[in-house]
Amino acid sequence: MSPAGRPQVSLRQVEKVFTPPGRKGASVQALGPLDLELFNGEFFAVVGPSGCGKTTLLELVAGLSVATSGDVEFEGRPIAGKILQGVGVVFQEDASFPWLTVTDNIGFGLGKLRLSAEERRDRVESALAMMGLTAFAHSYPAQLSGGMRQRVCIARTLVMQPRLILLDEPFGALDQQTRLLMGDELLNLWRKTGATVFLITHALDEAAMLADRIGVMSARPGCIIDVVETGWPKDRDSRIVQEDRFGTITARLWRSLRAESMRAIGYQGVKA
């Protein structure tokens, strides 16, 4: 997919510097200067070495953090630390609320949307069905597996019908097989909802399988050093991992990342 038109999300010359409390110790430049544009309906993944600022980047777009300099915009509106409507976030950690049932977890944010009771029920039921959780509607998260809890969190974001879904390594804690299957589910949801997906991941194969475009980040301070277009058809699933092109994409990502990853961990054993 070749992006065209006005970007849904744009980051221009964005930098993020962390200053320790009380200004004791050195400041750390986590990001930038970084430029990035996301377009309506695309699936964009970001890969990068550990500590390169991937999560910081996601938090800037989510409005959970403010850039030290530069502009971050969603649909033409500056984000600047505000949580804008139309943006949903799924975190790496299990964020399902243990004191609520699956149904109540999923409907948690709907109260803010001022919907009728019927509309609320419809949205929750449809999210339960979409994520295969109907049989567990009245269970508590402690009674579910890690993968199912993550599905609850995705469903909780989906019922809000966001136009932009931000995913911070959502399958990081899952085993490889479950991750592939969850990837299939995510692709399904992406097609059904038509939302833009911005996925942060450390797994090159996951990015290569899921995304239309993949941004490769440098070691800290993180910048986008390469953008790889995968060219996959929209109607794809995890079976594309057996295609030759999948290997080519993963190899290209690793070529871009290898030196950065070594820099990130201070590794000097082999030549970059």
């Binding site: 959970l64 949580i83 803010k112």
Partner: protein
Amino acid sequence: MKTSSLDRLRNGLVLLLVLTGLWQVLYWCVGDVALRSPLETFGYTAYLLGSARFWPNLVETAQAFGLALVISVVMGLAIGFTLGLSRIANAVFEPVLVSSYAIPKITLYPILLLMFGLGMSAKVAFGVIHGVIPIALFTTDAVRHIRPVFLKTGRTMGLSPLEMAWRILLPAAMPEIFAGLRVGFSLTLIGTLLGEMFASQRGIGYLLMNAIGLHNVDLIMSLTFMLTLFAGAASVILLAINRRMQQRT
């Protein structure tokens, strides 16, 4: 009834039988001077429950304890949430709170008596100073250890600070807060009874103190038995609720 519930019931009954047996043995060893047998105590308790002088005193204690518990819970939660959410308040006041927990509260009795005089306010105050600190300390700890991802989720859902407190902070911290409430419940009861023993002319604590003065062993045993039964039953119920909450996390 589930097997585990039946097991718990059987264990409870066995424990009661063992304790009653030990009580009887102790009575045989010590004799009438300081103790009464379980059977005599049950008999006197039945007589006491039928007597006119018992109920007004019970109502007095229940009122004092109820009021002290409500004040302890409200104050404890307010202090706990403030210290849990504010790093500065925590750094300044938590050491003070921890130190006050270690002070034997009985040493404050003369000051409280001067401040409140004999009667309801003094015993409520005595109950509160016993109960509020554990509730505040447990709440502080609970709020400080809420997983940051819950708060981030709340923010991405656009919750206001009040909604965040009511819908996320309170339920997320509740299992630990409840453990504090359990301790606070027992200590507030002890404080209220101590207050009645030293600073009141009505209530179960007063009756107990009076019985000690008159060496009325029947009354001492009966009141102690009822208080133990009440505190034990309340503790079992609160512990069961607490366990249920912990299972969900």
